[in-house]
C-alpha cells in the first residue's frame, strides 16, 4: 500500500505537455470567434486584428484604425491592371521593375534602410568602369594622335576597361605594358639570384669554375632578362596609342627614310608645323581652292544648287584680296607635289633612277616655210570699190533725166555696178562704145545722175552688210541694262538711247530705212503725192503723220520712233487716227487702182475727218512737240491702292476705307485699247487748258449748245447711269450685240425707268457728299474721288452718235459709207464672223481691216504678200506696245469707284452742280470719251454693216423717224451734230 503512496514520488514526467486547445489564450479564441462574426458584419464595421487578435492601430495619418480600402489593400475599384499608354508627345518610359516596385514603404522600412545595390567596386565588367574608361579615353584622345586622322566616332573604338583584376595586378606591382609572365619570371629570377648570392656568401668558396658557372648562368639569365625585356614590347598589352598614325600614301610598312634616317626628323618637323597650320585654316583653304575660278572668290554655293549667272563674279575678277588667310599656307596640293619632287631628287625611290638621257623624243615639225612673196591677204582681181567709196563724199543730188527709160536704165545700171563691182561698169563702158544708150557712163546727159545713183546704191549695199558686224560686236560686249532691255524687248529709255542714235549719221539712218524698204516694196516717192492724195490738207501736222503712216505701211523697214510727237497725243487719239489713216489709205489705193478717183468719195472722206476731229485733242495736237530733253525728269501720277493692313501698320487711315475693292476683270487687249492712259492727259495738263481755251474760242457753237443742253442735264445723268450695263453688254455679249445697240441710240426710253435711274444717281451723290463731309469733320484726309461712273460712261455716246448721224445724214458721208459697205459686202463672211464674235476688240477689228485688205490684194494687187506681212507685223507691234504701256493704267482706270487723280473734291462738286460749260470741257477732255468713242465707232460700223445685210425694219423706221424729226436742225454745220446728239439724249 505504501508503494501506492509512493507512486506519485516515482512518477517521472518526460517532455512538455501538449497544450490543450482550451488552454490557448482566451484572447485568441475570442479573436477566432470574432473573426467569424466579423466576416458576417458589413465591411465598414469590421476591424483589423493581428493574429493575436489585437486591434491594429495604423496611426492617425496612415488610416487610423482602418487601413487601405476598408481594411483591404485594394482600392475602391479593386485591383485594376496597369494600363500602358504611349503617345507621340508622352512617350511611355521603359519601366524597369526592381524589387522595390513590389515593396511598399513599410517593407522598405522593415529592411532597415539597407537597399540592395550592386557594388561598383566589384563590378568587373560593369557599366561604370567602361563609362569611366571611355571618359578617360576621350580626354586622352584630345592629346594624342590617333590611328585614323580626324575625330573617330566613339562607337568604333571602345577603350579597354580596367577590371578589378587589373587593379589587383597593379596593386601587386604590375604595370601596364608589361606582361604578367615576364614579371613573374623576373621576380623568380630575382629571388633566385638573391638566394644564390646568399648561398655564395655563406660558402665563401670562390672557385673559377663555379664563378664561370655563375657567370654563365648570369649571362644566361641576363639573356633571358633582355629577351623578356624585348618581349615586353611584343607581348605587352594593347598599346594605348599609335605612335605614328599613317598619313602618307606609301605602302604599309614602307619607310622611305629607311636608309636616310637623318631626313626623318626634318619631315617630322615639317609635319608638325603643317599640323599646327592645318587646325586653323584647313577647311577654309580647301573651300577657297575649290572655288577659285571664274566665280567669286571665297565662296562656293551649296552642293545642291546649280551654278547660275548670279554666281558669277561681276566685280572684275582676278582681284587680290587684301587680307587672305590662304596666303599663310600654300595650297595643299602644291605641298604634296613638292614632296614628290623632293623625293625624286633625293633618289629615294631606289629602284628607279632618273635617266640622264631619255630615249623617247617628241617629234616636232617645223612650220612650213612661207614663200617670200606671200602677202597673207587675198587679192581680188577687181578692187571692191564700194567699201572704199563709203567715205567718199556724196555727189550732189541731181534731178533725174526727163526720159523715163533712160532714168530706169541708169538706175538699173547703178544698182548692178554697186552690187557686182567696178568691172561691170567697165563692161558697160565697153558696150557704150557701140551702144549710145550707155553714154551716161562716160559723158553726156545723165552722167551726174548716174554717179549719184551709184553712190546711193553703194551706200545701201554697205549698209546691208553692216548690221552683222554690229551685232557681233555688241554680243561680245558686256550685258548692260540697256542691252538687256533691248533683248527683253523693253521700250528703251528715251534719253539713254538718244545720244547713240543721234550719233549715227542721219544720212545713214535714212539709208538704212530706204534700204530695207526697198527690199520689200516698190518705193513710192511720198513727196510726190498728188494733191488729191492729201486728205488732211488742212492740218499739216496730221498730213505729215499720215504720210509717215503711208510710208510705214507700204514701205516697211525701220522707223524713227520719235518722228511722231507721240507725247502730245493720247493713245486713243492715235488709235483713232490710225483708223482714219487706214481708211484714207484705202481710198487712195482704191483710187489708184481705178485710175480714176471718185471726187465725191474723197470729198466725203475729208468731210468725215473734219467733222470728227474738231475735238479738244485735235487742237492739242497742233502744239509743236516738246523738246525731249526737257521732259526728264518727268512726273506722272497714278492712283495706287495700299492694302488696308499696310495702312494699319503704317498707322495711317486707309484712304480707300469703305470703298469697295475693285473687281479685277479679265484683262484683255480690249482694256488697253478702250481705256486709255490717264497719263497723257495729266502730263499735258497745261496744254490741255490752253487747248480748252482755244477750243472755246474757235468753237463758240459748242458752248452754245451746251447751254441748251443744261436744262435737261439730270436726265442725261440718269440715262447714262444705265450705260455701264449696256456698254459692257455691247462689248462682251456675243449675239445680242446688235439688239443691244439699237435701243441704245434709237429707241425711246421708258420714262419710269429713267426716273428710277435719276433717283439712284441722286441717292448716290447725296451719300457721297455725306461721307465726304463726315470725313472732313473727322479731320481725315479724304482723297479726291474719281469722276462718277455715270458721267464717264455717258461720254462715249456722243462722238459715236455724231459719227452715226453724220454718216447717215450727210450726202457726202453716205458715199463714203457706200464705199465701206462695198468693201464689206465683198467679204461678207468675214464681217459676219466679226459680228458673231461680238467681243472683238479694236485690235481684232484692225485685223479685220487687214483681212479685207488682203482680199483686195488677192484680187489684183501684186504686192499683197509684202503688204500683208508688213502691215500686220507693224500693227501687232503697235498694239502690243500700246498694250504694254497701258496695261497698268487701264487697270487703274477700271477701278471706277476710286478717286480720279486730278479731280479734286471741289472739281467733282463743280462737275455735279456747276454750269454745263465746264462740264462739257471736262468731258471733252476726258480720255474716256475718246477711247470709248472709238469702240462705239467700231460698233456702229459693224452694226451698219449688219443692217445692210439684214434690214431690220424696226431700226430703220426709227431711223427714219429720227431723220424726220431732226431734219431741220441737222443740216447747218458740223456743230449741229453735237446739238442733235444732245437732243436725242433728251428724247430718251
Amino acid at each position: 500500500m505504501g508503494f501506492d503512496d509512493n507512486d506519485d514520488d516515482d512518477l517521472v514526467v518526460y517532455g512538455t505537455p501538449i497544450e490543450r486547445e482550451e488552454d490557448t489564450s482566451a484572447r485568441k479564441r475570442r479573436a477566432v470567434a470574432e473573426a467569424g462574426q466579423l466576416r458576417a458584419l458589413p465591411a465598414w464595421k469590421q476591424e483589423v486584428r493581428d493574429e493575436e487578435g489585437r486591434r491594429r492601430f495604423h496611426g492617425a495619418f496612415t488610416g487610423g484604425f482602418s487601413a487601405g480600402y476598408y481594411n483591404t489593400v485594394g482600392t475602391k475599384e479593386g485591383w485594376t491592371p496597369q494600363t500602358f499608354t504611349s503617345s507621340r508627345k508622352n512617350r511611355a518610359e521603359v519601366k524597369k521593375q526592381s524589387v522595390y516596385s513590389f515593396l511598399d514603404e513599410e517593407d522598405i522600412k522593415d529592411m532597415g534602410g539597407n537597399a540592395l545595390e550592386t557594388s561598383q567596386q566589384y563590378d568587373t565588367f560593369g557599366l561604370t568602369a567602361t563609362e569611366y574608361a571611355r571618359k578617360q579615353a576621350s580626354k586622352e584622345q584630345k592629346e594624342r594622335p590617333s590611328a585614323i586622322p580626324g575625330p573617330i566616332p566613339d562607337e568604333l573604338v571602345v577603350p579597354a576597361t580596367t577590371s578589378i583584376g587589373v587593379k589587383l595586378l597593379m596593386k601587386m606591382g604590375w604595370r601596364q605594358g608589361r606582361s604578367i609572365r615576364d614579371a613573374h619570371t623576373d621576380s623568380l629570377y630575382e629571388s633566385r639570384r638573391e638566394a644564390r648570392k646568399a648561398f655564395l656568401a655563406l660558402s665563401g668558396i670562390n672557385t673559377d669554375g663555379e664563378k664561370l658557372q655563375i657567370d654563365s648562368h648570369k649571362s644566361d639569365k641576363d639573356e633571358k632578362a633582355t629577351e623578356s625585356l624585348e618581349g615586353l614590347h611584343s607581348t605587352g598589352n594593347t598599346p594605348v596609342y599609335v605612335l605614328h598614325p599613317k598619313q602618307d600614301l606609301h605602302g604599309l610598312g614602307f619607310d622611305p627614310f629607311k636608309h636616310a634616317p637623318e631626313f626623318k626628323d626634318r619631315k617630322r618637323l615639317q609635319k608638325s608645323a603643317r599640323d599646327c597650320n592645318r587646325s586653323g585654316v584647313s577647311m577654309r583653304g580647301s573651300l577657297l581652292i575649290s572655288n577659285s575660278g571664274q566665280y567669286a572668290p571665297g565662296f562656293g554655293i551649296g552642293a545642291l544648287e546649280d551654278l547660275g549667272v548670279e554666281d558669277e563674279d561681276i566685280y572684275a575678277s582676278g582681284f587680290a584680296y587684301e587680307q587672305m588667310e590662304v596666303d599663310i599656307e600654300p595650297p595643299k596640293t602644291a605641298n604634296d607635289s613638292n614632296y614628290k619632287l623632293e623625293d625624286r631628287k633625293r633618289g629615294v625611290f631606289l629602284a628607279f633612277k632618273i635617266a640622264s638621257s631619255s630615249e623617247y623624243k617628241l617629234e616636232r615639225f617645223d612650220p612650213p616655210d612661207i614663200p617670200a612673196n606671200f602677202d597673207g591677204r587675198h587679192k581680188f582681181l577687181t578692187p571692191l570699190q564700194a567699201v572704199n567709196n563709203f567715205s567718199d563724199l556724196a555727189p550732189p543730188e541731181v534731178p533725174p533725166p526727163e526720159d523715163t527709160s533712160l532714168r530706169l536704165l541708169i538706175e538699173g545700171c547703178a544698182a548692178m555696178v554697186a552690187r557686182c563691182g567696178k568691172h561691170i561698169e567697165d563692161f558697160y563702158k565697153e558696150k557704150s562704145k557701140t551702144n549710145t544708150q550707155f553714154n551716161f557712163l562716160n559723158e553726156g546727159d545723165g552722167c551726174s545722175y548716174y554717179s549719184r545713183k551709184l553712190w546711193e546704191y553703194q551706200q545701201k549695199y554697205i549698209d546691208q552688210r553692216r548690221p552683222d558686224t554690229v551685232k557681233s560686236k555688241t554680243s561680245s560686249d558686256k550685258l548692260t541694262a540697256e542691252n538687256r532691255g533691248k533683248i527683253l524687248g523693253e521700250k528703251p529709255l528715251d534719253r539713254s538711247t538718244k545720244p547713240s542714235s543721234s550719233s549715227l549719221p542721219a544720212k545713214e539712218t535714212i539709208q538704212l530705212q530706204s534700204n530695207l524698204g526697198d527690199t520689200f516694196v516698190k518705193p513710192i516717192s511720198l513727196d510726190g503725192l498728188p494733191e488729191y492724195e492729201k486728205p488732211f490738207r488742212n492740218d499739216p501736222a496730221k498730213q505729215a503723220r499720215f504720210e509717215q503712216f503711208l510710208k510705214d505701211k507700204y514701205q516697211g523697214g525701220l522707223r524713227a520712233a520719235n518722228l511722231i510727237p507721240t507725247s502730245t497725243m493720247s493713245d486713243a487719239d492715235r488709235a483713232r487716227e490710225r483708223l482714219d489713216f487706214e481708211a484714207a489709205a484705202e481710198t487712195i489705193e482704191k483710187g489708184k487702182e481705178k485710175k480714176a478717183l471718185d471726187p465725191l468719195s474723197l470729198l466725203g472722206l475729208t468731210g468725215i475727218n473734219e467733222q470728227r476731229f474738231v475735238s479738244s485733242t485735235e487742237s492739242e495736237k497742233l502744239i509743236p512737240a516738246q523738246d525731249e530733253k526737257s521732259i526728264y525728269p518727268r512726273r506722272e501720277e497714278f492712283e495706287w491702292r495700299p492694302s488696308p493692313i499696310l495702312c494699319k501698320r503704317f498707322d495711317i487711315v486707309d484712304p480707300f476705307m469703305g470703298k469697295p475693292m475693285y473687281v479685277q476683270r479679265p484683262r484683255s487687249k480690249m482694256d488697253s485699247l478702250i481705256f486709255m492712259s490717264e497719263s497723257s492727259t495729266r502730263t499735258n495738263d497745261k496744254e490741255e487748258s490752253s487747248s480748252i481755251a482755244s477750243q472755246h474760242t474757235s468753237e463758240p457753237g459748242t458752248t452754245e449748245i451746251e447751254a441748251k443742253g443744261s436744262a435737261t442735264d439730270p436726265d442725261i445723268g440718269s440715262s447714262s447711269m444705265q450705260k455701264p450695263v449696256d456698254l459692257y453688254k455691247a462689248i462682251f455679249s456675243d449675239d445680242s450685240d446688235d439688239d443691244m445697240d439699237e435701243p441704245l441710240t434709237n429707241q425711246p426710253v421708258d420714262p419710269v425707268k429713267t426716273s428710277e435711274d435719276a433717283n439712284m444717281v441722286l441717292n448716290r451723290l447725296v451719300a457721297e457728299d455725306f461721307l465726304e463731309s463726315l470725313g472732313k469733320e473727322l479731320g481725315l484726309d479724304v482723297p479726291p474721288e474719281k469722276p462718277t461712273p455715270p458721267n464717264v460712261l455717258f461720254r462715249p455716246e456722243m462722238p459715236s452718235t455724231a459719227n452715226a448721224s453724220s454718216i447717215s445724214r450727210n450726202g457726202k458721208a453716205t458715199t463714203s459709207q457706200e464705199i465701206k459697205e462695198n468693201k464689206s459686202s465683198l467679204h461678207k463672211a468675214v464681217v459676219a464672223n466679226a459680228s458673231a464674235d461680238a467681243p472683238s476688240d479694236n485690235a481684232e477689228r484692225l485685223d479685220l481691216k487687214y483681212e479685207k485688205q488682203e482680199h483686195r490684194a488677192e484680187k489684183g494687187s501684186l504686192h499683197y504678200s509684202h503688204r500683208q506681212t508688213q502691215s500686220v507685223g507693224l500693227d501687232s507691234d503697235s498694239t502690243s506696245d500700246q498694250h504694254r504701256s497701258r496695261k497698268r493704267r487701264s487697270r487703274h482706270q477700271i477701278r471706277s469707284g476710286s478717286p480720279d487723280s486730278d479731280s479734286s473734291v471741289e472739281r467733282r462738286r463743280s462737275k455735279k452742280r456747276k454750269s454745263h460749260s465746264s462740264h462739257r470741257t471736262r468731258r471733252s477732255k476726258s480720255p474716256y470719251a475718246d477711247s470709248s468713242s472709238d469702240s462705239q465707232h467700231t460698233k456702229r460700223k459693224r452694226r451698219e454693216k449688219k443692217r445692210h445685210q439684214t434690214r431690220i425694219p424696226d431700226t430703220d423706221s426709227s431711223d427714219h423717224e429720227y431723220e424726220e424729226r431732226h431734219k431741220s436742225s441737222s443740216r447747218r454745220s458740223s456743230d449741229k451734230d453735237r446739238s442733235r446728239r444732245r437732243s436725242r439724249h433728251h428724247k430718251r
Partner: protein, 302 residues
Amino acid sequence: MSSSAAAQRLPRSEARVLSGHEGAVLAVRFNRDGNYCLSCGKDRILRLWNPHTGALVKEYKSHGREVRDVHSSSDNGKLVSCGGDRQVFYWDVASARPIRKFRGHNSEINSVKFNEFNTVVVSAGYDRTVRAFDCRSQNSDPIQTIDTFQDSVMSVNLTNTEIIAGSVDGTIRTFDIRMGRETVDNLGHPVNCVSLSNDRNCLLANCLDSTVRLLDKSSGELLQEYKGHICKSFKMDCCLTNDDAFVVGGSEDGFIFFWELVDAPVVASFRAHSSVVTSVSYHPTRACMLTSSVDGTVRVWT
C-alpha cells in the same frame, strides 16, 4: 566760307578698317543712332560691328546666298536682310537667329527697309516688284505687292507715309499710302539707289549714267546733277551728309566723291578702296562715314 569750312570737316582720314568679310562687301549701314554698323556681302554673312572701336560684335549666318542689303530696326532689336536667296530674313539681334523668313519674291532681292514703327518690312527685288511684309503677324507672305515697275527695283526707302523705290526702268516711284497715290518720276536712266535727304524733302538718285541726281520730292523737279564719278554697271549707294550740305557717292574705281549740295562742284575726292565702292553710309550725327567695297573691306572715315 562756311561751306569750305564744312568741307574741311568732311571725313577724309581712315580711322580703321573692318576686315573679316571674304569677298565683296555689298552693303554697310549705320544703325539708327550711329553706334553700330552692319555689313553684309558675298560671303553670305551679316556682321555687326562697332565701327568706333573696330570690334566685331556678332555674326549672323543663315543666308544661303549673297546678302545684298540689311537694315536695323529703330529700336535695335531686329534686323532685316535680303539677298540672293529670294527671302527676306528677319533677325533677332541678340540671339543672332532668324525669327522669320518672308517669302514672296520670285528673284533676288536688292533692297530692304523697316518702316518707322518696325512693323512692316518693305523689300525691292529683281522680279520688278516691291513687297511689303508684316512683322507683327506670323504670316510670311507679303501684305502688299507693287508690281508697276518695268524692270528690276534696285532700292527702296521709306518715310512715315511713303514707299519710295528706284528701278532700272529709270523711274523713281513714290507710293503715298496716305493719299493712295503713285507718283512716277521718270529720270530716263536706270536708278541704282534712292536715298532721302534728312529733311525728307529731297530725293537723291544714283543713276547708271554716272550721274547723281537730286530731285524735289514734292514737285519732282530736278534740282541738281552731280557728276565726276563712275557708275555704269554696279549697284552703288549714294547719300547725303547728316547736315544735308554735301552729297557723298562712291565710284567704280574706288574713289569717294563729295559734292557740294547746291552748286554741285566736287569738294573732295580720294581713293578709299582698291575696287568698286559698293556702299556708303554716313553717321547720323557725327562726321563719320563708312564705305564698303568689293575688295572685302569696310573702312571707317572720320
